[in-house]
């Protein structure tokens, strides 16, 4: 297959590109490198030393003889070039990772909110419009998040995308299937909720074939392909904006700093290893919906943990202490999370668990590159509202206000 990987320079996109190239597909990466610009804006860098995308593609070619072509293109701002590219290349499948993906970054300031909505909505909508306009029959696989449902629900198991409801009609109650109602908790999550409506419309009006993968938090750094050469290594974000909770724990442990748990740590999150994530995408590619079919929605995750249990797991492996801080996010203090992921399990996924893989991350990544850690960038500082920002600022002892040194 000819596959376009949009956002292929990112944390998920790069290992996906390698995995699919390795499997014999013709892979094209489209990326505007905005994520590298954001590193520059924030003054942070990947813990792992990451080469330019051009250099990475060169090394991959040298190692395997396979080409991955890179195209610098802004999906949100260069509609015409996107359309021309699709028209000329006619990919069989498109994997869409190209969005601003950090909730804390999306809540940093008004500029970041405006950027996130503008970038994500226009990127997704431009792509959909261009697919219709060029008439290419590509299967679109998009990465969404389970966070779109919010974490303050009534404790319902999160199903795969849809909900049957009963609606009052003049002839009594009638059943109807609707998109599972969302309740996004950040501007970033909100954009994924908007994406869902775009997908529903274009599947229905134009028969586009779309799969939306509602992914949990992706952890882990290496895949079979990124291990082949030090220069193929994947990025590892640990800063307060892009570092996921697990990455921050690993870094804190590596520098002997306490693991910072926000609130009670009772928030439950879903996880998946990067190796399983790329495998799920491959499975989804092989299972496209037909034209006219509703959007296929899968929950792409393999296990759930409470944040405090994660902290204890990392503490257990490393001897780190745990520190408790007020929560800058507006969310329920404690929540359950029951996720259905039968579809992927049925397709034959055989997951790596945190229990089994976490030690590798400590040794091969966090400790190995500990000398590259900028301690001042670990704390999470974006507050969700004015009130929550004031709470942090009022406490001179709050470690989020000072560097960790």
């Amino acid at each position: 297959m000819k596959i376009a990987v949009l956002g292929g320079d990112g944390f998920c996109g790069w290992p996906t590109s390698l995995h699919l190239s390795d499997a014999g597909h013709e892979v094209h990466i489209i990326d505007n490198l905005s994520r590298r610009w954001i590193d520059t804006e924030l003054g942070v860098q990947s813990l792992t030393p990451m080469d330019s995308i051009q250099e990475r593609c060169r090394i991959w070619k040298r190692e395997t003889g396979r080409s991955i072509r890179f195209h610098l293109l802004d999906l949100a701002g260069e509609y015409q070039r996107l359309k021309q590219w699709l028209e000329a290349e006619k990919p069989d499948a498109i994997i869409h990772f190209a969005e601003q993906r950090a909730a804390p970054y999306s809540m940093k300031s008004d500029r970041h909110k405006v950027y996130t909505v503008n970038n994500n909505v226009n990127a997704t909508h431009n792509l959909l419009t261009a697919m219709v306009e060029t008439g290419i029959d590509a299967h679109l696989v998009h990465l969404g998040t389970m966070g779109v449902y919010g974490y303050s629900s009534v404790g319902a198991p999160i199903p795969e995308g849809y909900l049957d409801v009963e609606i009052d009609t003049p002839d009594g109650k009638k059943g109807q299937e609707i998109l599972y109602p969302t309740r996004p908790g950040s501007v970033y999550h909100m954009t994924k909720s908007l994406d869902q409506i775009l997908f529903q419309f274009y599947a229905q009006n134009d028969g586009l074939r779309i799969t939306d993968l509602h992914q949990g938090i992706v952890w882990g750094t290496h895949t079979d392909q990124t291990r082949r050469d030090p220069q193929l290594i994947n990025r590892f974000d640990y800063d307060g904006d892009y570092g996921t909770v697990l990455n921050r724990f690993l870094i804190q442990a590596a520098i002997g700093y306490p693991l910072t748990v926000h609130g009670t740590g009772g928030q439950t999150r879903a996880f998946i290893h990067i190796q399983d994530s790329v495998r799920c995408i491959e499975l989804a590619l092989g299972d496209a919906p037909a034209a006219g079919e509703r959007v296929k929605i899968f929950n792409q995750m393999t296990e759930t943990h409470r944040v405090r249990d994660l902290a204890e797991m990392v503490a257990g492996l490393t001897g780190a202490k745990i520190a408790w801080l007020p929560n800058p996010r507006k969310e329920a203090a404690e929540n359950d999370l029951i996720v259905k992921n039968d579809q992927f399990m049925a397709l034959g996924l055989n997951p790596t668990t945190l229990e089994a893989g976490l030690l590798d991350e400590v040794v091969e990544v966090a400790r190995k590159f500990a000398h590259r850690i900028d301690r001042s960038r670990v704390p999470a500082v974006s507050a969700w509202t004015r009130e929550l920002a004031a709470e942090v600022e009022a406490d001179p002892e709050d470690p989020r206000l000072k560097s960790v040194s």
Copy 2:
């Protein structure tokens, strides 16, 4: 009250501005005049001779001694200026009409789809972000549409915004209130569906006070204020993109052309007179939700009619014939529409019916300005999909392909 009317140069915004100014409020119009640019793009103009916004404000001042201030500002593209303006002026209420509002225009081409999504989503989101950022405590009243629910539903009465559903949980079924599920039928309608999610988020996260008025098709030209001087007249769109079905019937009747009904004419639509629309907005202003309360959603309409019944009503008044054409829209051929509007009725609305007001439109507007009609612009040509476009193009007799002359 100090009131900002965003999109105050438009069909609904202008009479609303006059009505509120007349009632003693301090009115500021913000508009980028994009709608006038679209007239230029399409080579169409309002049937009624419409002056510049600056001139209209001057006449209003001369007639009444009251000032309406006009500010040229693009909500979607000038976030910083918007924020500065809100900060400086601190309006008590903001009425948001400033979106691209024609479904056929939004489906014209890929450029029009991209423009509509970019303009409408960014306009609404920039406004919400700026309200949070400036910390002003204004009540936001937005104009949405009932079309957001789609017209192919199971015949459920359209409630005012919310639906109670039962969700499976580990402890059995639990009730939950959700936004009434949408199924938008055009890119334009889709943007209103996206707006709903933006409102839900900002009401919940930041306590913004928001009312969303899901309006039916607005008909009629004059209000008490626009009648005061010929130069205060409201716009009247009759072209295939912006002319609503009723306006096109009026024009067709005025030039002795058959009334063109698409499909069976079995589509039911909701209607409201412009005089009642401005009154509803005033009522909604006086009934703001509290901070932290959910978004208030009202159905702003007063009657429903099938398109073929409307055609017969106009034919009865004018002697026009009816012509039947294939439908360029992807929608159900026949639909019922039962709309709840108890909230406005309870607030004391006393509506003008089509039955009672339609003759005035024929005499005072359609016939009076019939010499200004450009016959070639009446047919509706935007097709919803490639297949539907091909259907029209295959029929050389289809009057949408030629001018009406």
